[in-house]
């Protein structure tokens, strides 16, 4: 809903933005633009965090700096966020925010509701497409803020060649490298990966359940990955029979769908276009006579699904 970016200078800024915003919607957060990145030639990295879990947002992160300053990334210990401990990631993110004269960053927090809604559109939008759009949005945002980007490194989602082609068609002026394991190959992608991962963890920890106002919330959801028994148990325990899960859950994950099927009321959607006419029940049919459609006086009524009735 809100495509505005919020500027944050520290991790506690980030946490307060996250807990202030409605987490059914996407949230976008960024650093100030370092002056050096407006004039000097810059590199930019992109990575994501939280693609697989059935719970919580997926976060896209970018970080950028002038090519001449990239040695700072190694000094800070930027490596693949998955091989670093949580504490190490938090510490490095802290350092990144302190290097505001040199390093810039931005994240797009894609809410679980957005993910479910995209997947359950009539014309399905795949997770890869969501990812690509998020990456494109971040690059565009940084360009719009006047950063002199020359080279972009992206951790791939799907086949790298196609993805690279897609990005090049949108940003023909940039040199773009899309590759597998970019987070361990390019320190600028590692930095992006750390931003994304730290902020995803913060978003999960600070999740505000609108469904459970004023209650102590069960946050024992384990790893959040669908094959984790603790996560599965969490899903089973936190079901409303009508509405299903609280909005922290990605309804479109097959694990979530299965748990709903067995533990909540069945919901039928009028989804097949062809069937719609056949099955269509005009609201007025609730007031019909002897289950028979009454001969109408004019097509006006037929067209509008109206019948004349005197009997309830």
């Amino acid at each position: 809903m809100n495509s505005n970016y919020r500027v944050c200078h520290t991790i506690s800024d980030v946490k307060s933005v996250i807990s202030f915003e409605n987490n059914s919607f996407d949230v976008r957060i960024e650093s100030d633009v370092p002056e050096t990145t407006k004039t000097e030639k810059c590199i930019l990295g992109i990575d994501e965090a939280g693609r697989g879990p059935v719970l919580g947002p997926m976060v896209y992160g970018t970080s950028y700096c002038s090519a001449d300053n990239q040695v700072i990334l190694k000094t800070l210990g930027c490596a693949d966020s998955k091989v670093l401990s949580e504490q190490a990631r938090d510490d490095i993110f802290d350092e990144i925010t302190k290097q505001s004269e040199i390093l810039g960053w931005a994240v797009h927090i894609i809410s679980p509701t957005t993910i479910s809604n995209c997947s359950f559109r009539r014309q399905k939008c795949s997770l890869n497409e969501i990812s690509h759009n998020a990456a494109i949005g971040l690059i565009q945002r940084v360009l719009d803020r006047g950063v002199n980007i020359c080279e972009v490194f992206v951790d791939t989602v799907g086949p790298p060649e196609k993805y690279q082609e897609k990005l090049l068609s949108i940003f023909p002026q940039l040199k773009i490298t899309v590759s597998k394991k970019a987070d361990s190959l390019f320190p600028i992608v590692s930095a992006a990966s750390i931003c994304a991962k730290v902020i995803r963890d913060a978003a999960l920890k600070n999740w505000k359940f609108v469904e459970r106002p004023g209650e102590d919330v069960d946050s024992n959801w384990g790893s959040g990955y669908p094959n984790d028994p603790v996560t599965k148990e969490y899903l089973k325990k936190n079901i409303d029979p009508v509405f299903g899960f609280p909005s922290i859950v990605r309804f479109s994950w097959s694990t979530a769908e299965l748990v709903l099927k067995n533990n909540a009321a069945q919901v039928d959607w009028s989804d097949e276009e062809e069937d719609e006419d056949e099955k269509s029940v005009p609201i007025t049919s609730f007031f019909g006579q002897n289950n028979k459609q009454v001969q109408q006086k004019t097509p006006f009524f037929d067209d509008r699904g109206l019948i004349v009735t005197t009997k309830f």
Binding site: M1, N22, S24, T113, S116, N117, S119, F120, R121, R122, K208, V210, E211, R212, P213, G214, D240, P241, V242, F243, G244, P246, S247, R250, F251, S252, A256, L260, A265, Q266, V267, D268, W269, S270, D271, E276, K279, S280, V281, P282, I283, T284, S285, F286, F287, G288, Q289, N291, K292, F300, F301, D303, R304, G305, L306, F312
Partner: protein
């Protein structure tokens, strides 16, 4: 298309944060889906629907704009809705339907499906479509044409 008419539960606990999103807690929601309240083995369940906590419609327009499009999410499905005011001189009645799974696909049977009319009156209805903007082509919205047409006929002295 199927309708489920639900009366929102009134909030038990006041949550100040909930007001961050513009919603209308008093609205009756017409949903583009059917929620089965009957258990598989038979026997009726009474399900309470905590609408105010789980169903949070929002709009990008002014909330008093009658043409405003509303958005919400149900079971992960994106919904688009409009607010319908019951025309002057008419009342909206809430009917409790019989949920008969054996006959649910037979249109004719739904005419005898009204179990009771609750007597509850509503002035406003939120009409929801699944990922499609409601238009005058929608059955309910077009049915309301009759209101204006009938008024025109009735007020015509000829």
């Amino acid at each position: 298309m199927r309708f489920v008419i639900k009366r929102p539960e009134h909030s038990q606990t006041e949550d100040s944060d909930a007001s961050a999103v513009a919603t209308d807690q008093q609205a009756v929601h017409l949903l583009p889906c059917k929620i089965h309240t009957r258990k598989l083995g038979g026997g009726r369940q009474t399900l309470k629907a905590p609408v105010d906590r789980y169903f949070c419609p929002y709009t990008k327009a002014a909330t008093d704009d009658e043409t405003a499009l509303w958005h919400s999410s149900l079971r992960g499905k994106p919904l688009t809705g409009v607010k319908l005011s019951i025309p002057d001189g008419y009342v909206g009645l809430l009917c409790v339907g019989e949920d008969d799974d054996n006959h649910r696909n037979v249109v004719e049977d739904s005419t005898s499906a009204v179990e009771s009319i609750t007597g509850e009156v509503t002035q406003e209805v939120m009409y929801w479509n699944w990922d499609r903007i409601p238009t005058r082509e929608d059955p309910l919205l077009s049915a309301l044409d009759w209101v204006r047409v009938s008024e025109a006929i009735m007020t015509n002295d000829n």
